[in-house]
Symmetry: C2
Subunit: 412 residues, 2 copies
Amino acid sequence: MFVAVMGYGTVGSGVVELLYKNHDSIVKKSMQESLELKYILDLRDFPDSPYQDKFIKDFNIILNDPEVKIVVETMGGITFAYDYVKKLLLSGKSVVTSNKELVAEKGYELLCIAKEKNVNFLFEASVGGGIPIIRPITQCLAANEIDEIAGILNGTTNYILTKMITEQASFENALKNAQALGYAEKDPTADVEGDDSCRKICILASLCFGKHVYPKDVHTEGITKISLSDVAYANSWGGVIKLIAAAKRLDNGKITVTVGPAFVQNHSQLANVDDVFNAILVRGDAIGDVVFYGRGAGKMPTASAVVADVIDAAKHTLKKKNFGWDNAEENYVIDYREQTAALYVRGETDDKEGVIKLLNGEIGAVRVLSLEGAPENELAIITNPATEGELRDKIENIPGFTPKSVIRITDY
Amino acid sequence: MFVAVMGYGTVGSGVVELLYKNHDSIVKKSMQESLELKYILDLRDFPDSPYQDKFIKDFNIILNDPEVKIVVETMGGITFAYDYVKKLLLSGKSVVTSNKELVAEKGYELLCIAKEKNVNFLFEASVGGGIPIIRPITQCLAANEIDEIAGILNGTTNYILTKMITEQASFENALKNAQALGYAEKDPTADVEGDDSCRKICILASLCFGKHVYPKDVHTEGITKISLSDVAYANSWGGVIKLIAAAKRLDNGKITVTVGPAFVQNHSQLANVDDVFNAILVRGDAIGDVVFYGRGAGKMPTASAVVADVIDAAKHTLKKKNFGWDNAEENYVIDYREQTAALYVRGETDDKEGVIKLLNGEIGAVRVLSLEGAPENELAIITNPATEGELRDKIENIPGFTPKSVIRITDY
């Protein structure tokens, strides 16, 4: 059996490396007589690559080669990836991708085509890098109704937050540090504004709850506004700030999906996830909480997830895996303002006692956080859980109080 | 398709409950038209059970019913379970078990029969309760060469150690507490002496490294000798004591497998695993460290893993899963004394300075741990890594030093 790789960037080159390095055990596990790389598609030249003879620049060579049964897409982005992957599936080839944007935006359509053509469209590497998560959800936790899924899905922001927490680095300095180490891109927007986490939670929510969730329907907030005083207040509360992407099933059949900074208690399994590591918590009705932890990005971890999918696709050549979700539905994801949440609020006031009294009256007893060396006019509180939108409105309208930072509190 | 459950204890009754509770989604996921419980085998009477009409006492009814394609074995123990499971597999039925003793002692033979008969023998629930671990190792991490696997595999001992660490309870009191809560059995030997962890690491080692590992070949030590001063020294070292079951591949093709208390650094993902929770760390060549965390025991978590296997067996009725390992091999597991380890040693001496000098001369520079309020004649040290047996012998033979406690140091 022959395989092609499209996109020889970080992940793609890792896939090629792994296909050669662990070749024999990969062939054995795929239950095929052979599993060989035939083409590497990339527009760039790699004159020093040992796989010189594999490089091609014309996509149609792959599309029209009946020997190629499985194609790895590690190009990223949507435009070309979508066009190519669609054509490949339609032509009866299985596709394995690490492209979270592609799956989050076009997953439902591509899964439908794969089903129709009886081929595999697999994307374990699109969430959590090398951490096994897609397959455990679909197979191992199959006996559970999944109630909630939440995680630290972006290594860049987690690295920045870790530096802010452990070294009191400012956001700006921590970001520069991450860029210097290659953990953050020159334009870090997709990471620090939460878009990357958003795509990943869309994929997980689609898988866990059965209907496609699009990024545009998810309220997404990044970490650019987190200050060191928020970090210090989280510590005085007994926890840390993490960028949490979460989805939850509601009793009415709808779901909530949000991405944003959140207070996580110190004893939580998500609190200790530091640096570029990721962790995903799945809450099932039978199993309770299960957490998957590991490297959420990086060349070889992600490549290993891609190659595991290649092996799986090879094993299931004749019989596709039953795998997918239904189309999106209007108003299926509720407005974040309608969800129930407890909030941390830091603000300014010249009359602390008066504002606390007003808050207690409007939203019920709040917990006041104390912090040594905090400005005289700073007030930080924790609310009880309530409808998020109403809570935010009421707090904004407390006379004499100017909120500067509002962060959700998690219960895991 | 029909299913039978053998053994209506904690896990078996959970399986029955789950098969009814999540019936529709289970049928859908199993890709069968139906998936119904036909028999429950148990010698006891359950007059108040709502599943009254399902109970039978004669194993042969299941064995001889061609409608029953999948049998769940949750009886535990070896004698009957081995006889029944063997007959079922030979008769062409798939078997799903949560019985770690059965798999650790008879796994190779039963897997061979299953292969020959083209049926499934699945045992996700035998390790880590509801935590997905068997399937992730065989499928998701398939592109990796696994170098090492280590975990907290027994909830009872982890609960006891947690109480010793967080509440300074003595081993005896913590055990009584665990028994009162139902976490430990009246006769806690299998848990506290490490046998349960040993069976589980045998299964994991067989799966990761490809040859059957028998419990008798594994050096196993429990937690009965751990004192509160060891707990305090671990804290002063910067970590905690956990009961760690670990297996590691060596360069010469052999492996080490051990079960015993170990020092784990505070920043390790295994350090924060408290109470009855379990966690398993897998170290792969491509992915690095991945950790799976969750409830390692209990009715519904374990039942959910069993039912996930039932779903998988149903999906693969026609084509068995490629899954298993080779026969055991003489001297494949090396003697623990030949492995490399760093040790914590606590002992008594009337000449601390002299003993430290002798130790430094015999085994290289040791790190001396200090502890407020420790007895005048107590000395606790950390060694460098060396061949474990030689290290132990040299320390035992230091004149004027009487070792009281020796515990391994982990590097994860």
